[in-house]
Amino acid sequence: MKKAAVNIPDGITESLFQSPGVGIAVVNQYGKFIKVNDGLCRLLGYAQATLKRKPYFQIVAPAARKEAAQMHQLLLNGKTASEEIKLACKTGEEITCRITNSLVTGNHGEKFIVKIILDVSENQKYRDLLQQTAGLTKLGGFELDVASKKIVWTDEMYNIYEVGKTFTPTLAGILKFYKKENGIKLKKAIADTIANGAKYDFECQLTTGKKNTKWVHISGTPIYRNGKIDKIGGTVQDITTQKQDELQLERLSLVASETNNAVIITDASGKIEWVNSSFTKITGYSTEEVLGKKAGALLQGPGTDKTVIKRIGRQLAEGAPVSEVIKNYRKDGTPVWISMNIVPVIKDDRLLNFIGLGSDITEVLAARTSQKLKEALEQQQKLFIDIANNFPDGIIGVLDKNLNYIFAGGKEIKKLGIDKSKLLGEHIFDSLSEQSNTEAVPYLKRAFDGESVVFEIGLYNNTYAINAVPLISGDDGVEQILVVLYNITKRKKAEEEVWHAYEKQRELNELKSKFVSIASHEFRTPLSVILSSTDLILKYTEANDTEKVNKHIERIKGSVRSLTDMLNDFLSLEKIEEGKVRHNISAFNITEFCDSVVEEIKLTAKKGQQLVYVHEGGATQVVLDKQQLKHVLLNILSNAVKYSDEGKKIWLTSGLLKNRLRLTIKDEGIGIPEEDKPHLFETFFRANNTINIQGTGMGLHIVKRYLDMMRGNITFLSELNKGTIFTITLPAGTPSTG
């Protein structure tokens, strides 16, 4: 531990030095005078110039020079001592002087002895002087008379021991201030000095007269007289304040070495002078490895931010403390983030050291980064939830393995009238329908097998497209799936409309191609009849067979009529399909209407077929589309004729009841097979038992279509080979008055 230096203000030193009653000399380690004051020169009768650079031993009486040389060596070894020695004046006269020696070490390790030389006769003056300085330094001096054990001391001693001026110091009395081991140590040291001439110099604690504990630095030196130890001279310096500072320092250095922070002390050029154990712990470098090396070169690496290094250098050059976070590298090459504080130590405008304090914040940074990541993730999550909640026309949900909602969002939830809070933890369609649940489950299970599935499902008259994709996979495979339900009702409807339009177009095209194909067959027969009948007419005209000619003219007429009928059927059907049928409502008498239709049918009736018409009562006036009704009736009646054998009867009845017209057409024809009944009104459908009978399959279809347009109804009862009854009912409009 460094010895506390006695700092005397410059002015005092100078005035002391020039003090005329005291001789003061500074002697270097080789025993030569560096400086002497006027006081000494006057005392010994030398001129100042003659003493400078001269050996000190020159002024010692020849008999005492050996003793003086010994003392000089002792002094250089660091001990403060006082001596009484005979000095020689220029005149050769010897005078006894008291010399108080102190060792001063220069900045470069050179040693000087400061000698305060006092003519013993001038003793009192010396004491006064000492007292002046003592108060400033808290330094007291004493002399113990070995024989009497009496003590003489300076006034400062009263302050140090905190006793009154009336206190008479004795060895026994003084020892009482030193408790326990301190007292024993001092007692022993004094005894040793008296017995062996050993000096003592140590620090210890004492308890003052006011019971205050003080740290003191005490020293004692034997004072020889005629070769015998006559007295012990010494000092007691109150070093409590310094001691406290030292303790503080000690504690601080302990802290520095024990702290978790790395501590580096470098010299002004940045070379490492000291590091603590935490530095080793953090960087992996031992103290030996780093001493004398530059900290920067040792610790920085490729990832170190050069701009930060430059900033640190700039700030330190200005003498400013630095706080930075920097990426350094350990001995093993692994990076370490150091938060460092560097303080330049400046004294008297001179940069002495840098003290660096660094802490490893790698984990803190990592934690901060993960915190940031977490925040970013939370942000993302929030964003996802916002997106999900605002998802239009659909629901975004996350399902667990049991197909229960873990998360659900989307505007469709509200639209479906579901309480969102109740949805969580619920099975996918619990809130909606049992059936949907059953339909959806197999698809959703496939998503849990790692497949992306798309399917459609109907809920409350709405159609939903459902996308299910595997979301989170764990050790046991997919644990969560993302399910997006999108309401595609509108799209579906549009699709259906397009499909419907397409179907209609397709049907129409089919109809046309069927027409072409049927026309090519069905038209050829009547055309053949016409052609062959004309040939026959020519032949019979030559033979003058008028009867046969007329028969064939009728046959031609019939064929043309059947061609016209067929053509009309096709045209009607096309008009119906394209929605181009015109309605022409008029009021007419139903019985007259039926009579004319029956007359028309009779022309085509087979041999012996009878047509019977009966009006079964009620009013006779109806308001209907006459043309359409005629078509309907002709069609069914001509079927009756066509599918009944010769000589069979056909009945037509009409009736008006509650403003509805009812028509029945009954025949004794071949009837309709049971299996064909459901298809009877389909386009181009022909029953199994009609294959040998000509027909296009359009008639009844057109009948049905016309009746639909008239908001009418057609039903039939039929038994194979017995006959068929068709019943038509339709609203007959407002009955006219009368």
């Binding site: 027969t525 053949s528 009849v529």
Partner: protein, 129 residues
Amino acid sequence: MVAVIFFKTNYMKTILLVEDNDDMRENTAELLELSQFTVLPAKNYDAGLTLASKNKPDLIICDTDVPGLDRFKKLIALSAMGSMVPFIFLAAQLPEPNRNDVAVQGAGFLAKPFKADDLLNAVNKYISA
């Protein structure tokens, strides 16, 4: 055989006519009868088959649009005299030229509607051959 055929031609030849349309059947029959052929009219194939097996016609004229034609042709072919009897088919459309159909090969075709002369030319061609 030549003598027999010649002998036969001196008599009225018999033609079986299968046609479902009454007017057409009657008109075709009248045209053939005016040319001194004996016509056996049949409204459908079953009736035609019965007539064919009873009367052994010299020619069969039949409408192809009458359902069940294939069956009819097979039955004719299986009957004892079947393969000897020439056919003239009355068709809405003429068959494809190289149609690989035994029953159709060697048969005559007449597209509807046909003129009286076309019919008689075809009949004479098949009966005199």
